[in-house]
């Protein structure tokens, strides 16, 4: 078994290129007009994902049982000047775990997607880009060095862009795609800049010829050298820039708005965006670069602050939204905020587990919501829904389990939440503990609010459409995964994903009870508010959940962040651009125009001079002659004066 997995890992380049090849095959499939078959496309891409799963299981096995914890393959790609960039694969615990998560989820999402888009005209395009995304994310997860990460990082952004832009005739969708890409581009630029800064130091300090540039396997060394060599400020800037990259991909404040707008995308894409992308890009990057961050308390503090703001703000915002997709989007931002806080506080393993667990559950929820939305004829507003449990009990159950798990009551979500809480609690950090509990509370509130509003209560009038089984099966699998995850934390996850200098902790039973109590409180409040009206709660509902109430308005409009952004863009950036345009048109160009005009004026003067009167011609000549004579006489007089 170890040999087999070793062989597979050594051929990991093939694993990387497989999705690309499949994408090409699908293009060919789509290009041949009459033979093109949708099933073939599905089978091809499912096949790739399956191979991915096998590969990652092997990788996991390899990492668990092999002596050398990491396997690395590298290929020199760009060699110029001092720069020697390699592309390669690195299979270690972290990448194996995330690879497994990714390939499994991707497999399920693809199955779901088939059900989702099988009627669409551009069916093949969807799968082409799914496979390309698969390629880029595989490359990202397996990347052996930071430069490669940058490359695949940006690449994944492009394919995400295309996936969101799937319905490009819809203006909102294409705008959302643009926004997503551009916001991510900010992160890309920051990350690129950070990596270039790191390159500077690694080229200068470690000039070993055959070393892989910014390789992850000796990142620790690089980071420590860097820390010892440069000033704290420089180090902080360099370490901070990748954090910004991760913030955009993980939709942290203030780069969150793309994930909200991207809900225009098809549901599977949405699931990938909220579940897979943060794990495979931002999360992975942060965990990879953790050796760098650990050295600077400022960076960790920054992680904490950003995460805390996002977690609180977006959880709060999610509580009042009506669009189901937006609720999940804000929920994603909020939960990933928790991940940031966890990393900031030093809970490396716990944060990783939380991240993956959240990924699985968020995919589950978004996909479930997708099923519901599909059957409700693309109605997103939960106010018009209700009582769906009768018509689709299975989905309702899955949704209930999913929200329970995500809010931390069940399965892997419970494990993840307890882990986080333990880390906060054990570090004697009371304020953080309160904050995180508050976030848990709010999460439970908005998740169950959705459940109650959608599946319980009065039945809505909208007629239900039949939903393909392709869309329903993956949901069950996801629940199973979540359950399975709950059991393999200690044996598998914690032994693979760890940070050497940080110890792993677990929550005491008392803490678990407290947490469960708070969560149940939240569920109860929600239940009382939305399910069985209770007079006292109704009062709250009328007072607080009122369109006129400031708190509610803030929550409903997401603290007007979007408006502020828009204001900045329209009033500031565009004004500035127009100002530059003005300068260009009237000043830079104006100088040229004026020069041209002077030429014209001169030529006009000359033509006026040429008045046809021969006497004036003579007069000009005599005048010039006299002028030169005067000058010469002057020179001679001056000369004689000086001579005297």
């Amino acid at each position: 078994m170890l040999e087999v997995s070793g062989f597979l890992i050594n051929s990991s380049f093939a694993m990387l290129l497989l999705p690309l090849w499949v994408a090409v095959m699908i293009i060919l499939n789509a290009a041949v007009p009459f033979v093109s078959s949708r099933k073939l496309t599905l089978n091809l891409s499912l096949g790739v994902s399956l191979i991915g799963i096998i590969f990652s299981v092997c990788a996991l096995y390899f990492c668990l049982f092999s002596q050398n914890a990491a396997a690395e393959n590298n290929l020199l790609w760009l060699n110029t000047g001092d720069l020697r960039v390699s592309l390669g694969t690195l299979v270690d615990g972290l990448s194996a775990v995330i690879m497994l998560f990714f390939s499994v989820i991707f497999f399920l999402v693809q199955v779901y997607s088939y059900g989702y888009v099988k009627e669409e005209k551009n069916f093949h395009r969807f799968f082409i880009f799914l496979n390309l995304l698969n390629f880029s994310l595989t490359g990202l997860i397996l990347s052996s060095n930071l430069v490669q990460t940058v490359i695949f990082w940006e690449l994944s952004g492009v394919f995400v862009y295309f996936l969101i832009n799937y319905w490009y005739t819809k203006k909102s969708a294409s705008d959302a795609a643009k926004k997503t890409y551009l916001i991510n581009k900010i992160g890309d630029a920051a990350l690129l800049l950070g990596v270039i800064g790191l390159i500077y130091f690694s080229v200068i300090f470690s000039s070993a010829e055959n070393m892989i540039l910014l390789s992850y396997s000796n990142l620790q060394f690089t980071a420590e050298t860097l820390y010892s060599m440069v000033s704290g400020k420089t180090f902080l800037i360099i370490a901070m820039l990748p954090v910004f990259g991760a913030m955009t991909k993980c939709a942290q404040f203030p780069f969150h708005s793309w994930v909200v707008d991207a809900t225009e995308a098809p549901a599977p894409v949405n699931a990938i965006l909220q579940g897979v992308i943060p794990v495979a890009t931002g999360g992975l990057l942060l965990m990879r670069l953790y050796p760098l961050f650990v050295l600077s308390t400022e960076v960790l503090a920054w992680l904490k602050i950003v995460g805390c703001i996002s977690a609180l703000v977006f959880a709060y915002v999610a509580m009042s939204q009506n669009n189901i997709k937006k609720i999940f989007a804000y929920s994603t931002a909020s939960q990933l905020g928790l991940f940031f806080v966890a990393l900031g506080i030093g809970a490396y393993t716990g944060a990783g587990y939380f991240l993956i667990s959240h990924g699985v559950l968020k995919v589950l929820l978004v996909l479930t919501a997708g099923v519901v939305v599909c059957s409700m004829d693309n109605e997103n507003d939960i106010k018009y829904w209700g009582g769906l449990r009768q018509s689709m009990p299975g989905v309702a159950l899955i949704f209930l389990l999913g929200s329970g798990a995500l809010s931390g009551l069940l399965f892997s979500g419970f494990c993840a939440n307890t882990l986080l809480l333990a880390n906060f609690y054990l570090q004697d950090n009371f304020i953080w503990t309160v904050v995180i509990l508050f976030v848990f509370f709010m999460s439970a509130y908005y998740l169950f609010r959705v459940y109650f509003l959608v599946f319980e209560g009065e039945k809505s009038k909208i007629e239900l459409k039949k939903v393909s089984n392709y869309m329903k099966c993956p949901l069950c699998f996801l629940v199973v995964i979540s359950i399975a995850m709950a059991f393999c934390y200690k044996k598998v996850f914690a032994s693979l994903v760890y940070f050497v200098s940080l110890e792993q902790v677990s929550l005491s039973d008392g803490g678990k009870v407290v947490m469960l109590f708070i969560l149940l409180c939240a569920v109860y409040i929600t239940f009382r508010l939305y399910m069985s009206p209770y007079s006292k709660f109704m009062l709250i509902k009328e007072r607080v959940l009122n369109k006129e109430n400031l708190l509610y308005k803030l929550s409903y409009n997401c603290f007007y962040i979007e408006e502020v952004n828009k204001f900045l863009l329209d009033k500031f950036l565009m004004k500035f651009c127009r100002f530059v345009d003005f300068i260009d048109k009237y000043i830079v160009n104006g100088v040229v125009v004026i020069l041209g005009l002077t030429t014209r004026v001169f030529s006009y003067l000359v033509s006026k001079l040429q008045n046809g009167n021969v006497q004036s011609y003579l007069a000009y000549s005599v005048f010039i002659l006299a002028a030169i004579m005067v000058v010469i006489v002057g020179i001679y007089l001056l000369g004689s004066l000086v001579g005297v």
Binding site: V614, Y617, S621, I624, M629, I632
Partner: protein, 478 residues
């Protein structure tokens, strides 16, 4: 018999031209309807004979003829051949004028030959008297030529030319009279001898300035420049072509020879000439920018070109002189080509305003292409000889020293404006128009001149090495 030896050794071409003047006058007495057509052939014959006889002239070492009044050396021979070539082209393209003049065609050629003779004399004049005589002679014959055709504008042009010419010669005389007074001699060689050890004085400076300014009339440079477009407009095309080259070449020959003698004693003269040259270029360039008439445009263009040649005069080293000579050669062919092109156009539809060139490119691509090359050469753009010529002249200034860089810069920028003005006719030729214009020119001669000279403008750029060497050789002989 010394007289005859002089003629044989130094004056053969001039004598042949003079003989043809008389032949022409004589022939003009016999009027016959068919006979006048031969006048052009006779003129061609005269010029060819004269050109051939240049080979018999003593050029090395310098030959002093007629009691040292005229000289003959490589330098003068070069200018004489330039003048003869230019006149040859002028004769070739005067077919139309011969037809129009009919009986008086011989008179026309007689005056033309007078002008050639005068120009050649001016080139080889070696004292103030001979230079003044040929100066006046050239002015008068050019004046008569430009007033030859029967319309008011020609007369007005001729009148303006005459007024300017006589004032210029008066200035010339007045200036030379003081130099005569200072040196006690009118002969250039004697002046050079007597000036040895001379410190220079204000009077000398002023008088040489007068002489130089008077010469500016011949080379059509500032300050005696305003007559140029008016006279060209009045004159007929072949005369315009002649005027735009021959007097200028002759003027430069004399100017350079006078400058060689006096420039050492007048320190600011070089700068004055450079400034005048720059002013000339500016005047020509700015004046041509608004021009609507092709003939006047050609006039301004001539001013620009002569300004560039004058620029080389301000430096007066063998190098710059060689540059000037090379420029002159290029200018000769390019300008001939320009005028020939204009003549071709004029002969086919009798119009000379620039607007009538509209849309020419679409029906006469070959003509247009050639014309573009000509204009590019005048503008100094590659791959034509004009580019090299400008390069040569400007490099002479660059060689002078860092203080002259400002002049160089101004010259270059004015050159850029010159590009602007030479693009104008091209632009007009490419403008869209409804009427189709065909050049119905059946005259082989003007066609030949046009295309031949255009080809030369390009070839001169490529096979320039030998020519530049040749020019340097000539410049050293001065």
């Amino acid at each position: 018999m010394e007289f005859l030896t002089d003629i044989n050794n130094a004056f053969l071409p001039e004598i042949i031209i003079a003989a043809f003047v008389f032949i022409n006058i004589f022939l003009s007495l016999f009027f016959n309807k068919k006979f006048y057509k031969t006048s052009q052939w006779i003129a061609i014959l005269g010029i060819l004979m004269s050109f051939a006889s240049i080979g018999f002239v003593q050029a090395e070492p310098t030959y002093h003829a007629f009691a040292n009044a005229f000289i003959s050396n490589v330098y003068t021979v070069f200018f004489k051949s330039v003048i003869l070539v230019a006149s040859f082209f002028a004769v070739l393209v005067s077919h139309k004028i011969v037809r129009r003049k009919r009986a008086r065609a011989f008179e026309y050629f007689a005056i033309l030959f007078c002008a050639i003779l005068a120009a050649m004399l001016l080139v080889s004049a070696n004292d103030f008297l001979s230079s003044f005589v040929s100066f006046e002679f050239l002015a008068l014959s050019c004046c008569l030529m430009s007033g030859l055709i029967k319309n008011y504008k020609a007369k007005e042009g001729a009148l303006k030319y005459l007024v300017c010419a006589v004032v210029a010669s008066a200035l010339f005389l007045f200036g030379t009279s003081y130099i005569y007074g200072i040196t006690g001699s009118i002969n250039f060689d004697a002046i050079e001898v007597s000036l040895q050890g001379y410190q220079g004085s204000m009077l000398f400076a002023l008088s040489s300035l007068l002489v130089i300014i008077a010469m500016m009339f011949k080379v059509s440079a500032v300050p005696f420049v305003n007559w140029v477009p008016d006279v060209y407009k009045g004159a007929s095309y072949p005369v315009g072509m002649f005027l735009s080259i021959v007097p200028i070449a002759a003027g430069f020959a004399l100017l350079s020879r006078i400058l060689v003698i006096i420039s050492n004693f007048v320190p600011v003269l070089g700068v004055v000439i450079i400034i005048l040259a720059l002013a000339t270029i500016a005047f020509g360039a700015y004046g041509a920018l608004r021009q609507k008439d092709m003939k006047r445009f050609a006039g301004y263009s001539t001013i620009v070109q002569s300004g560039f040649m004058l620029l080389a005069m301000g430096v007066l080293s063998p190098y710059s002189l060689a540059g000037m000579l090379y420029y002159l050669i290029c200018f000769l062919f390019t300008n001939v080509a320009l005028w020939a092109g204009m003549i071709m156009f004029f002969n086919s539809n009798g119009r000379d305003d620039m607007e009538s060139y509209k849309g020419l490119a679409y029906n006469n691509p070959f003509y247009t292409t050639a014309m573009i090359f000509v204009l590019m050469s005048l503008a100094g753009l590659p791959p034509t000889s004009g580019f090299l010529a400008k390069f040569f002249v400007l490099s002479a200034i660059a060689r002078l020293g860092f203080m002259y860089i400002i002049f160089l810069l101004v010259a270059l920028l004015l050159g850029a404006i010159a590009v602007c003005l030479y693009f104008r006719p091209i632009k007009i030729m490419f403008e869209k128009t409804t009427e189709t214009l065909h050049l119905t020119n059946k005259l082989v001669f003007s066609k030949f001149v046009f295309y031949f000279c255009t080809a030369l403008t390009i070839l001169l750029c490529m096979y320039s090495s030998k020519i530049v060497e040749f020019c340097e050789l000539i410049a050293y002989s001065l």
